[in-house]
Symmetry: C2
Subunit: 207 residues, 2 copies
Amino acid sequence: MPVDYSLYLVTDRGILKGRSLFAAVEEAIRGGVSLLQLREKNVCSRDFYHIALELKELANSCNVPLIINDRLDIALAVDADGLHVGQEDLPLEVARKLLGPDKILGYSVSNTAEAAYGEKNGADYLGAGPVYPTGSKLDTVDPIGVEVIKTIKESVSIPVVAIGGISRSNAAEVKKSGVDGLSVISAILGSPQVEENARCLKNIWRA
Amino acid sequence: MPVDYSLYLVTDRGILKGRSLFAAVEEAIRGGVSLLQLREKNVCSRDFYHIALELKELANSCNVPLIINDRLDIALAVDADGLHVGQEDLPLEVARKLLGPDKILGYSVSNTAEAAYGEKNGADYLGAGPVYPTGSKLDTVDPIGVEVIKTIKESVSIPVVAIGGISRSNAAEVKKSGVDGLSVISAILGSPQVEENARCLKNIWRA
């Protein structure tokens, strides 16, 4: 079944200010999130595992695939639908080998060289960015802008989602670059109106 | 081939004060370390992977097995000889399933209930402790003392290594508890005389 990359939510419990991740994700999916990435950076493996188990059941019951950020062990342990690795994670080709050919494998890129590497070494899709400045400590790379996103998209034949500082005010501009989806964190989770936030982005995407 | 648990070094780059981990491990093995566990807590997956690759080559060239702490993904990625999980890591039975039946799987325990659980759910050996107070932030459990180590050892039929605050001044006492080995961090890596530190502990073990 083809993956719907249109509205790709990456989690960050840090910006939930104590609100439940499970409830927020449930609302986000109701609002139109089509793909979910669980990202946890300051948690022990046991807790990561249990959070992933919970979210997998939730996401899959709504026909939304669950992707795990960075941690191949957690992805394997919960039989997640995929893994997303960045430049500081396991090498892409190692991840692909251990994950098997059938799971979704994503790769973070900021330029066409990384994009070409990703396409050649087993990525199913690319997360290109950061498009705009981001408050999410997404990574340490400077914003690359919509033009570079467009260039990356045109340089490969696998799906590309844009990530980094995407909001309702710039989502239409990002869509025009030709990408296959919008990947967001704070634009959906950063304020309590999670379902509304997601629906608004989805409507911009569909327009 | 049976594993030699007699002198089990767990790494901690934090106490090396900038000295090279590779060089320290090399000296420690020369001094008599028979088993090596790579433990990294504040490093990205890419760096963990590269450190593990390097240490695996070193350890295996000296016929010393390399065990990875906590991270099953790293253990699989470098084809390490085994994995060690604690109470905050992946559940033991999940780790065993993903690791396969042939790799060494260790499990941290502080009491006989955890030891029984470990023996039943796939552990090849137990790391029991902390025996004494430790400066290594090994975990948050209070020291259990040599008597409890002895009780744990007598309650299972798999090998048990003692860990936590073991030094040349108490190693003989720990050995009397009947354990299969001494697991140490600072007693070997905490001062620059790494080879001498290891040899001294090995001699106490053999005495």
